[in-house]
């Protein structure tokens, strides 16, 4: 905080106060980058710097979003459904198993190599196998999504629980907390910031897996929407699907962060861990 003040002071040395104007500009500034990116995009597609068949203008893309509004809404809902189902299962399983494993030295050590192998295992490689076992459909997609999203949640829950400060545990013990109550009232709240960041990673990962399954298996949703547009050479429609996918990911993340701020006011303390 002090450094920010220092810097802004050095930059604005000697200028007179323009409080009101400064403020209204300040709010728009974060959008400056978006505007520049849109202009650059427009320039790239109009100047034919990139294969123009591959790059529609921003305006054509927004027109495509509007003209496909109905289909896009259905596709988005389809993606959301598989995503939500997957993330719900992953969260419940990840937090429960992660907490249990993190509380036990032996279980913690025994899962170490497994975790080190599964963390970088591209769960997307399992798409073909999942198709073999479960066939195409919501169950397969949600199953694969929950498998992929399980790992970051499990890993963070396990590490978060493992790292709970002994002083908290000892004070809780002195206060007579035992067993489940100790876990519910001390261990999980203390590990919550880490669990929360695991879930944050899982949220984006789950979306990646959902659209991947849709792309590879053609099981509806935004993935299939984009794939069909590509096969029909409708590049503007294809871009429309990608933009909507980006907005969806952005909205899910923003909503989650807002929710976490409410639920874990003590989070900022452990954020760096």
């Amino acid at each position: 905080m002090i450094r920010e003040i220092t810097e802004s002071n050095q930059m604005e040395q000697g200028k007179t106060l323009q409080r009101g104007r400064r403020r209204s500009y300040g709010r728009l500034r974060p959008l400056g980058g978006v505007v520049i990116a849109l202009l650059l995009w427009e320039f790239l597609s109009v100047s034919h710097a990139v294969n123009s068949a591959a790059l529609p203008t921003p305006i054509a893309t927004f027109a495509a979003i509007l003209s496909n509004a109905g289909k896009l809404a259905t596709a988005t809902l389809g993606t959301l459904e598989a995503w939500a189902l997957g993330i719900a299962v992953a969260t419940i399983a990840g937090v429960t198993i992660g907490t249990l494993v993190g509380r036990s030295q032996i279980a913690d050590a025994a899962t170490e190599t497994l975790v080190r192998m599964m963390r970088p295992l591209p769960s997307l490689a399992l798409i073909p196998i999942a198709i073999l076992i479960a066939g195409l459909g919501l169950k397969m997609t949600a199953g694969l999504v929950s498998f992929a999203a399980f790992w970051p949640i499990f890993i963070n829950a396990r590490a978060g629980v493992h790292q709970v400060d002994n002083r908290y545990l000892e004070s809780a013990h002195a206060l007579g907390l035992r067993g489940l109550e100790l876990i519910r009232r001390v261990v999980i709240p203390a590990a919550a910031p880490m669990i929360a960041s695991g879930i944050q990673v899982a949220i984006s990962l789950a979306l990646v897996v959902t659209v991947s399954v849709e792309l590879v298996g053609g099981t509806g949703g935004l993935g299939q929407f984009v794939l069909l547009a590509q096969q029909g050479n409708a590049t503007a429609t294809m871009f429309a699907g990608v933009i909507v996918g980006g907005l969806l990911g952005w909205a899910l993340n923003a909503l989650y962060l807002k929710m976490i701020d409410r639920m874990l006011p003590w989070k900022s303390q452990g954020e760096r861990s």
Binding site: I5, T6, S8, Q10, E12, Q13, L17
Partner: protein, 266 residues
């Protein structure tokens, strides 16, 4: 004063926060530092001592007034001014060994010369043989001595210290005070030290300035006429020392009373 090494005239610093609120930290501070003089600045916490030091060293541009070093106005940290910060754990680079940290201060010298200077500086502060250690392998007091060696290795004209011993225990602090004193006695540089420890200021200094609460001005200048060399055991027992300490303390208390209700956020 004839040709002061460091000449601070009517210094003013204001900090502007992000919502446009201008906060005056120091106002009209005038202070001269003579050749081989030891000067301390004390004041109530949050009175802007650190800001004053940052402006005096060229780390921050003042909003008014002038700072000259050897007759020339300061625009950036000049060669010839070294700074020791309070937080040795944040100012020593943790990825460099003690030797390489100290060598940072000797960047201006040719390589052949550098090694010898680093060795000398480490020996001066009693850290001979620790050049290949990393900061975390040393105790707090030793780390601060390494920071001192790094400041001394460039042979500065002015050594500035910002609460240099505030992060160590009382015994280590006494020891470090004497390390600084003997470095200063054996050499010709001047010292400008900011501290909240009145006893330390009186023990080490030739003159002590008391800053008022924000926006701070100089409230008093007290000449310390204790004989040198000084020693922790002898000097601190002297009646004159006790009197001077009481006098400085009284002025600081006075400054602090006026600042009640002001936020200390330095």
């Amino acid at each position: 004063m004839l040709n002061p090494v460091l000449d601070i005239k009517n210094l003013e610093v204001s900090i502007r926060s992000r919502d446009g609120f201008v906060n005056e930290v120091t106002k009209n501070v005038t202070l001269e530092l003579a050749e081989h003089e030891f000067v301390s600045v004390v004041g109530p916490s949050g009175c802007g001592k650190t800001t004053l030091l940052r402006a005096a060293s060229g780390l921050r541009m003042p909003s008014g007034g002038k700072v000259s070093f050897e007759g020339k106005p300061i625009t950036d940290v000049p060669q010839g001014i070294s700074i020791v910060f309070q937080e040795y754990n944040k100012s020593l680079f943790p990825w460099l060994t003690i030797g390489k940290n100290v060598a940072m201060g000797a960047r201006a010298y040719p390589n052949a010369d550098k090694e010898r200077r680093v060795g000398d500086a480490l020996e001066q502060v009693g850290l001979k043989g620790f050049a290949t250690r990393y900061p975390w392998e040393l105790s707090g007091g030793m780390q601060q001595r390494a920071a001192l060696a790094r400041a001394m290795v460039s042979n500065p004209r002015v050594l500035m210290m910002d609460e240099p011993f505030a992060s160590v225990d009382a015994l280590t602090r006494n020891h470090l005070e004497d390390v600084v004193q003997s470095l200063w006695t054996d050499s010709s540089f001047s010292v400008l030290m900011v501290t909240h420890d009145v006893g330390e200021a009186v023990y080490l200094s030739d003159r002590v300035f008391v800053l008022s609460a924000r926006p701070s001005t100089i409230l008093a200048e007290i000449k310390i006429d204790l004989p040198r060399p000084r020693s922790q055991m002898e000097t601190r027992k002297m009646l004159r020392f006790v009197d001077l300490q009481a006098e400085v303390l009284e002025r600081v208390e006075e400054a602090g009373r006026n600042s009640v209700g002001l936020e200390a956020d330095e």
